[in-house]
């Protein structure tokens, strides 16, 4: 490996040949500002179109300024990253970008998290001398994501996420010059595109061009309605990230404070999606064993591998792209929907409230959940099992609006019965977590023996595609794991080609799993934040006394009192679903 030496702001740095100036500078703590460049190095994610020109630096002996994100460092280079020439160029570029940007920061939902706004603050931009035509483009609202392209600065991070990391291909840069925008094919609505609502575009957008559909006002309205009983469920990944919105160190688990905050916001019952995650394991684990058993007996009607189906972005992805494989994923609903189905039957009966007067709110790290809860098959006579889904970010705003001093809140517990959970359910938030939880239960159900070591380290980690063989007392079970839809596609292509070696595959649409979901606090490309969230989730699991889903006492009670047995009649009715061929919905609509 050839090493080179260069000087940046009078500091010497040695880097591998081929390193960009930007990365060489970051290595010695010089953070050259960028707007389009985006990197999550541990995930092999990088966007460097060299388009914004904010990162220009002065290279001694070079006539023009060099874009540091796209210029390779050379041996002996002497670089200045902040002389008057550089700073003036950056200011000019920034002013030009802002000159075609709506000045609506006061009412923009991205305000406070906007990289363009932060940059303008950093450079002390006080006037925009450039006046001219401004871009005008229609606002496009889908069930999960809003595109407000007038705020787009053409950094193309969303395009990179959508095409390279997710291989969804919903977004592309279209048109040319001043008219260029990032849009779906034929500039149709996102809703008519193959978008999976994974929200990764939203999580990397530097401005307010891509944002989530905010349902917190609907929740507020429900909470103010005296006729309604309003209950809330919180996904596993939310507790590992919510604290960041209040200035806590990434990876600080705030489960207790979150429950306390939700109670103070006025929810009648504060429940946990983790409960439903345990329920998911009961059904999905039973389904896996059922399919596995039949398969091993040579039943040709049974297909393996079985794929997990908790992730709504992933469900959208295979409905669009793999309609020939609809019988491969588990039929188990996602925890969010299982919770809703149980809440509006079992729990509604328990408290004697009609389902129409019971409002189920979910707090999710995810934007696809907003779409999922609106799907027709999850409604009974038009009444959805889950009424509103809000993101981790929306919950944080909500708490701040309600004058709740989050940091001073005591740790409180969830309510019962739908708040009881095990360590197996909390790890649903991490890539590999669902299948690990499934293994803990499936192992014991299959072998009839007690699983002594519940930590399956082989299933953990951040590699895009992982595999492990778990010994089910003599039966080697091949497990595949993918996070990020490009990796999911690789495994699915294998299944389609009949070459998959796995018995079960877990897929999560977002890099890192739900902890890196599109509704989580913005990480600005810092993948260390994701690692810390993941560690916090595993710590929470380890701290629990019960760590296997089938040992959750409330789950046992639920089956005793109401459901009967996993995969039973009632389970099929309430906890399982089916999938649809949506490949044609991608087609062009003429009407």
């Amino acid at each position: 490996m050839e090493m080179i030496k260069l000087t940046i702001d009078k500091k010497t740095v040695e880097v591998e040949k081929g390193t960009t100036i930007l990365k060489a500078a970051r290595k010695i703590g010089i953070d050259i500002p960028t707007l389009c460049h985006f990197e999550m190095c541990d995930m092999h994610i990088e966007n460097k179109p060299g388009g914004c020109r904010i990162c220009v630096v002065d290279v001694e002996g070079r006539k023009n300024l060099a874009p540091s994100c796209a210029t390779e460092a050379q041996d002996g280079m002497v670089i200045n990253t902040h002389n008057i020439r550089v700073l003036n160029a950056r200011r000019t570029v920034l002013k030009l970008i802002i000159s075609d940007h709506p000045f609506d920061c006061l009412v923009c939902s991205k305000s406070g998290n906007c990289e363009l706004q932060n940059m303008a603050t950093k450079f002390g931009i006080r006037d925009i001398p450039y006046q001219g035509e401004k871009s005008t483009y229609r606002k496009d609202t889908s069930p999960s994501i809003i595109r407000d392209i007038d705020k787009c600065i053409m950094c193309r991070r969303c395009e990179m996420m959508c095409n390279e990391v997710q291989t969804v291909g919903a977004l592309s840069a279209v048109n040319r010059g001043f008219m260029s925008v990032v849009a779906p094919a034929f500039e149709m609505d996102l809703e008519k595109s193959p978008c999976t609502y994974c929200g990764q575009c939203v999580s990397v957008c530097p401005t307010g061009a891509l944002t989530e559909v905010d349902h917190s006002n609907d929740v507020l309205r429900a909470l103010s309605d005296k006729r309604k009983t309003v209950i809330v469920q919180t996904a596993p990944a939310v507790r590992a990230a919510l604290g960041e919105e209040f200035g806590l160190e990434p990876g600080t688990s705030v489960t207790g404070k979150m429950a306390a905050a939700l109670r103070r916001l006025g929810f009648d019952f504060v429940f946990d999606t983790d409960f439903a995650a345990d329920l998911t394991i009961m059904e999905e684990g039973a389904e896996l064993l059922d399919r596995l058993g039949k398969f091993l007996k040579g039943d040709e009607n049974v297909k393996l591998p079985m794929l997990t189906s908790c992730c709504p972005g992933w469900v959208n992805f295979f409905e669009h792209n793999f309609p020939d494989l609809l019988d491969v994923p588990s039929t188990a609903k996602s925890p969010q929907q299982m919770f809703g189905a149980i809440a509006k039957t079992y729990f509604a009966d328990k408290i004697g409230v009609d389902r129409k007067d019971l409002v189920v709110v979910s707090v999710m790290p995810c934007l696809a959940k907003k779409y999922e809860c609106q799907r027709d098959e999850f409604k009974v006579n038009g009444n959805p099992d889950v009424d509103f889904s809000i993101s981790t970010r929306e919950l944080a705003h909500f708490i701040k609006q309600a004058n709740i001093d989050f940091m001073e809140l005591p740790d409180e517990d969830f309510d019962n019965p739908l708040g009881e959970s095990t360590g197996a359910s909390v790890i649903f938030g991490n890539t590999g977590g669902v299948i690990e939880a499934a293994c803990r239960t499936a192992y014991e159900l299959h072998t009839g023996k007690t699983l002594e070591k519940v930590d399956f380290h082989a299933l953990r980690g951040m590699e895009g595609i992982r595999s492990a063989t778990i010994d089910f007392d003599g039966l080697p079970l091949n497990i595949g794991i993918a996070h990020g839809l490009a990796h999911a596609r690789t495994l699915l292509d294998e299944v389609r080609a009949g070459k998959s070696k796995y018995h079960a595959i877990e897929i999560m649409a977002c890099p890192g799993g739900c902890i890196g979901g599109g509704g989580q606090p913005f990480h600005f490309g810092n993948s260390e934040i994701l690692m810390k969230r993941a560690a916090s989730i595993y710590n929470e699991d380890a701290s629990k006394t019960i760590r296997k889903s089938h040992e959750n006492p409330q789950i046992i009670k639920l089956y005793d009192e109401f459901l009967g047995k996993p995969l039973g009649h009632k389970s099929h009715e309430l906890l399982h679903t089916h999938y649809f061929d949506k490949s044609d919905e991608v087609n062009i609509h003429h009407d």
């Binding site: 969804v168 291909g169 094919a185 309609p323 044609d584 062009i588 003429h590």
Partner: protein, 210 residues
């Protein structure tokens, strides 16, 4: 004197160009797209049993497949495929782009991005005799705008439009590399140099449908 410079200096219109794009193809496609009931299915490449429904007749789909095949269905050949397809069909409607995307295994959004980036590609059918006015610097200062105005007046259409009879369409481009003959216009692939507003009618009269 080679062919191109001969055609450039020769201002007297030669014999009319018979056919630039095959007249029936574009018209046929328009008809097919308007016929809402007609839906044909075809298999997407390398996608197992996935069938895609599209509002194009089977022979058009087969033709697109043939073009893609000629470029080994390679995603990197997208621009060449689009060129060839536009040459064959006269334009690139959404449905055609959709078939190409499936065939080359790229997203439709990406194909649309390329089509809208290059001004050569068009999603509206051009006239049988597409007219392009060079409005590059040299042509512009030597009166291209006046020539353009005259074309608009004679044809009753604006830039980017096609005459009602589908005969002529009007577009602007920047520089055909014949600045010495400015102002320059093209009809189909034929280049006319030193065009004056007065000469416009004579040029148009050369193109008759037969």
């Amino acid at each position: 004197m080679d062919m191109i410079s001969k055609s450039l200096t020769d201002n007297t219109p030669t014999k009319p160009i018979e056919k630039i794009v095959s007249k029936p193809v574009a018209a046929e496609i328009i008809q097919e797209l308007e016929n809402k009931s007609a839906l044909y299915t075809y298999a997407a490449a390398d996608k197992g049993k996935v069938k895609v429904k599209i509002k194009l007749s089977e022979d058009k789909i087969a033709k697109i497949h043939e073009i893609c095949e000629a470029f080994n269905n390679e995603a990197g050949e997208l621009i060449n495929v689009l060129h060839q397809t536009q040459h064959t069909f006269g334009y690139l409607p959404a449905e055609v782009q959709e078939v190409i995307a499936h065939r080359l295994n790229v997203s439709t959004a990406h194909v649309y991005g390329v089509v809208t980036f290059y001004s050569y590609f068009t999603m509206t059918p051009k006239g049988r005799f597409p007219i392009s006015i060079c409005t590059g610097t040299a042509c512009y200062v030597r009166g291209a705008e006046k020539v353009l105005e005259e074309f608009k007046k004679q044809l009753g259409i604006n830039v980017g439009q096609t005459s009602a009879d589908g005969k002529f369409s009007l577009s602007c481009l920047r520089c055909v590399g014949a600045c010495g003959l400015a102002p320059v216009i093209l009809v189909g692939e034929k280049v006319y140099g030193r065009v004056s507003p007065e000469g416009v009618k004579a040029i148009l009269d050369n193109y008759t449908d037969k």
